[in-house]
Symmetry: C2
Subunit: 120 residues, 2 copies
């Protein structure tokens, strides 16, 4: 899930990708946003994710300091998640990705054959 070789890199960018560079974490962070949310809510809102994988990702996000987990000693149990300062600071980056995608997604890409050079 997290790539140890990446996380142990001496390049800070590589380390960053080692922690948030997978498909689930950006989705989860984006779904949480600025609100406080419970495990069951996440499980039903995030599409196609299994409880097992969701629990793993949340644990890693907490370990990496992006997420705060508040467990209330009640029965049935109640656990609330919210982004930390670090996690909140990541939201604008996700906004940029959204804007970037909306701007460029539909742009047609020339086919490779149009770009082959017959030099020589």
């Amino acid at each position: 899930m997290r790539d140890d070789r990446f996380c142990a890199s001496n390049c800070p960018f590589t380390r960053a990708i080692g922690t948030i560079g997978n498909k689930w974490k950006p989705i989860i962070i984006n779904v949480i946003g600025t609100r406080t949310i419970r495990f069951g809510q996440l499980d039903s809102i995030v599409p196609h994710i299994s409880r097992k994988v969701l629990a793993e990702q949340l644990k890693e996000l907490e370990e990496d300091g992006l997420l705060e987990r508040w467990a209330y000693k009640e029965l049935p149990p109640r656990v609330e998640y919210k982004l930390s300062e670090k996690g909140l600071a990541f939201l604008p980056i996700l906004e940029n990705i959204k804007e970037w995608n909306c701007k460029y997604e539909v742009a047609l890409t020339p086919k490779a054959t149009d770009r082959v050079s017959y030099a020589k």
Copy 2:
């Protein structure tokens, strides 16, 4: 590599994550940057990547319009890669990720036990 469920989502953000949300693509885009680079160079610069995976990732990046591939009909073959306009537009986002990581990486995170509420 690319997640079809993500790419077929009706949420543009999810689709974006479906295309660039893995660990190799941000690394490759970052390594290329604004320069023109050959396959062999990428293979030796990007750490820990195999030629097979590199070729796959480059192909997907080209298909998604982030990368331009220029093949020169020479022998031995010469192939040059450079980011498209879309790919170049993604570079500032990677810069933001670098800054974000440098700012927050070393911040200590309180342990979960410090945050357990004993309410009730």
